[in-house]
Symmetry: C2
Subunit: 496 residues, 2 copies
């Protein structure tokens, strides 16, 4: 200090300079400190303001009072403008877009009505409205639709829950997919609430509780976004067919061994296994999973609001949020990244179309063979090939995002589907000729959803009438009962 004081004595401007620098530094530190304190306060406010949430609380709004940012973004799963930009409708009618599907699912409720999936908030509204729930369905169909499910399963036990009728639980299950499905209300830690996933792990000798946080950021999604079936004629116990592995062949082996059949095809009489969105399984076979990326990374990226960093609960296609999802790792333009995704999807779709076209023909050709007196023995190897082919095609077609998550695996599966379906057609050719049928068999006009539905014998007017009746007479009773129990029902069933 002696040196500096000497210096200042000799050159007084040095003293002033030191003075000004000190002021600037202190001011800067002040601003920084204030910002840190402010951010701390915001974070603390969140923690201090929380009101306790009771266990199995199904009402998302109540959770929203504690976590307004997460709740607000969750609410925006109501926004379907992205899908409408790319599909031209608020809720794409897949049967209208691809009438061939009506034929492929003939004999199953999906041939009546199948819309593109949309935001979690629509779950209850959409399951009540679909024509698929007019067929007597077990309560198992509710399993992935609502935060009320863990609550009721906790009361009744899973076995009793699954055994009930879908309609019998209409007044209990009223809150759409939400907070409680994935979070522990006390700690807000991620939590598995669906027994099927826990049990699938157990049967493989694994304890799901040993999963890391990063694994949990995918596993909470894997409670529902998986291949599953309803086990047992009356039990309808929700089960994941993972015991032999994750590939399409592994699960086929499982289903064949337990002799599972989802429906007998109305035209070809094939005992079909309907695939149910094996999203997690296909994701696990893709490069993003191999690089340690979780579902949440891309579908729920981090977001900043003032001093708070939180997870965006508007779960959606990352293509609608490229800058926050893809571009965190990929230093490419949005246009390039989008093109890369579409290129992959287009190639997989081309193979899917090949399989679809072939399967439509084979079902109709098989029906013609039956109609002309084919025997069980003649048809057996053919129906096996059709079952195997349709399972493969559906595994890809039913998955959400499979053509992005694991495009090459999808292509591999579809190539095998095409081969099996075409081989079945070849075998059918000789059966048909032996029965005196002229080949090729004429394919009827099934170029629109309506025509295809008439061809497979559906009375759509009657089905729609019944649905309207149900929505007018039964659903309001459900809602009233739920409101009396204290569950507020927020959605307007009249809206699309």
């Amino acid at each position: 200090m002696k040196k500096i004081s000497e210096l200042v004595k000799e050159r007084p401007w040095v003293g002033w300079a030191l003075y000004v620098v000190t002021i600037l530094v202190v001011f800067g530190l002040g601003v920084l400190g204030s910002s840190i304190i402010e951010r701390r306060q915001e974070s603390n406010q969140i923690i201090q303001n929380v009101k306790p949430i009771s266990d199995w609380e199904p009402n998302n709004e109540k959770w929203g009072e504690n976590y307004p940012r997460e709740y607000e973004t969750y609410l925006s799963t109501l926004d379907t403008s992205f899908a409408s930009k790319h599909g031209g409708s608020k809720n794409i009618d897949m049967l209208e877009k691809y009438p061939d599907l009506v034929v492929l699912w003939a004999g199953y409720a999906f041939s009546r009505d199948y819309n593109q999936g949309r935001g979690h908030y629509y779950a209850i509204r959409d399951i009540r409205k679909t024509l698929r729930t007019d067929v007597p369905q077990p309560a198992t169909c509710w399993a992935c639709k609502s935060t009320d499910v863990p609550r009721v399963i906790n009361q009744k036990g899973a076995g009793e829950f699954y055994k009930s009728q879908w309609k019998d639980l209409g007044s209990e299950i009223v809150n759409p997919i939400g907070c409680q499905d994935c979070h522990d209300p006390k700690t807000m830690n991620l939590r598995i609430t669906r027994p099927a996933l826990i049990e699938a792990f157990e049967r493989q000798g694994k304890d799901i509780k040993n999963s890391t946080h990063q694994e949990m950021r995918s596993l909470v999604c894997a409670q529902c976004h998986v291949e599953y079936y309803f086990k047992g004629k009356t039990e309808k116990y929700l089960t994941f067919p993972w015991d032999k592995g994750f590939t399409v062949e592994d699960m086929e082996k499982y289903y064949d061994e337990v002799g599972h059949v989802d429906f007998v095809h109305a035209l070809s009489k094939t005992p079909i296994v309907k695939a149910q969105h094996p999203d997690y399984e296909l994701f696990k076979m893709g490069i993003h999973n191999e690089r340690g990326v979780s579902c949440a990374e891309c579908h729920m990226p981090y977001k900043s609001d003032g001093g708070v960093k939180f997870t965006d609960h508007k779960i959606q296609s990352p293509l609608n949020n490229i800058s926050n999802s893809c571009q965190v790792c990929h230093r490419e333009s949005e246009d390039n990244l989008r093109k890369n995704v579409y290129d992959r999807q287009d190639k997989v779709l081309e193979l899917s179309d090949l399989a679809t076209k072939s399967l439509v023909k084979v079902h109709i050709e098989a029906k013609t063979a039956w109609d002309n007196g084919a025997t069980e023995e003649q048809m057996k190897p053919i129906l096996k090939l059709i079952r195997n082919a349709q399972w493969r095609w559906d595994f890809v077609a039913a998955s959400h995002g499979g053509s992005f998550h694991a495009p090459l695996e999808c292509a591999r599966i579809l190539g095998n589907a095409v081969q099996k379906s075409e081989e079945a057609r070849m075998l059918l050719t000789s059966v048909l000729i032996s029965l005196g049928v002229k080949v090729p068999v004429q394919i009827p006009d099934i170029t629109t959803k309506e025509k295809a539905q008439i061809y497979i014998g559906l009375d759509m007017e009657e089905l729609k009438r019944k649905k309207a009746e149900f929505l007018t007479n039964e659903v309001p009773v459900w809602d009233r009962t739920a409101e009396e129990r204290g569950s507020k029902v927020n959605y307007d069933m009249k809206n699309k």
Copy 2:
């Protein structure tokens, strides 16, 4: 300085400390300067020591005197230990490994003999030894094998070159693929020496001279690693079928329009287009090309030797050099990266196998139909499907590395191949039944290369005898003539 001198007076150790620090810094600067000068010198030596190389100089050794590092690495293309590690042999016999190929190429020289490609240095040795060159071949077959080709084309003109017989140029074409194929001897810039590529660009209205250096690092490879055909019955003019585009469908349209047929299949009588390693085309459809990576980046990565950074001319699979190729961009372990490549290749191979198996059957079934009196009219739509299917299968099968460069595009192509081949089998079923043939047609035993070659009617002993005669009597004359002209012949034809 006054302050420091005062300080030193008060505390003498400060002076010593300053002295030591100065010594260390000056020493460090000295070392750095010396290293820079040394590196400069090494680089300058390269430039100063070069002896002029005459234009069209085919002798790689002469270039090697100027560029010993590049030459030394080029020479190590002789090393086939990587292929042997993964295939079990120094020069994998593909027909032995996949006897089905014999049937698919029945009627074409590839059914006699087809070994896995190996290092550039083997080019002359391998083309002389293969049984494929016993069939009278045009000189066009030399086009990609030697640095003598640009020299002779420069003398004769391309048209005259291609019109000659392969055997007539045996004494002219003796130096294997090397320096001059890609480099200008004066500037060492990359240079296109093959007219076919320049002409393909011209027909698309592009001037290849406008290519960037980075594009040239792929285009020099695209002189040979492409799909091509010999245009004209006698002209045999080397031509790339790119006029309508790069996809398998674009090139098929081109071939169909010009009515090109490489061979008529000996069993099914299908007019086949044989695909010729469309490596560049498939690479262009893959993600590495989309991200601006060139062939050289991975197949000829940079290398350091003392002060000199140069391009590794041991052109090889990047899997044999992961740390210098893949890991420059991908921060993953070697094991992970290798697994990622193998996973892709396995899936594509599975689809390729499906197509192979189906095509083998369809050729044999078609032969059975002909043998039993099928008419041209009955067979026409079937042969069209077989032509289309085999072209697609071969496009992938013949490409080097296509299953890595563009795995999904390969899968798309193969899925279509399977569909077309199986559809042909379905149509054949009704033709066969109409001719009174019992279906399914029995497939003969073609489980080894020898059995398959006997089945398609090849007298392999006779072919091998003729080849041995040729190697003993004619080839030494070629070499003597070449040596008299001043071209040293380095390779020993007795070695494998």
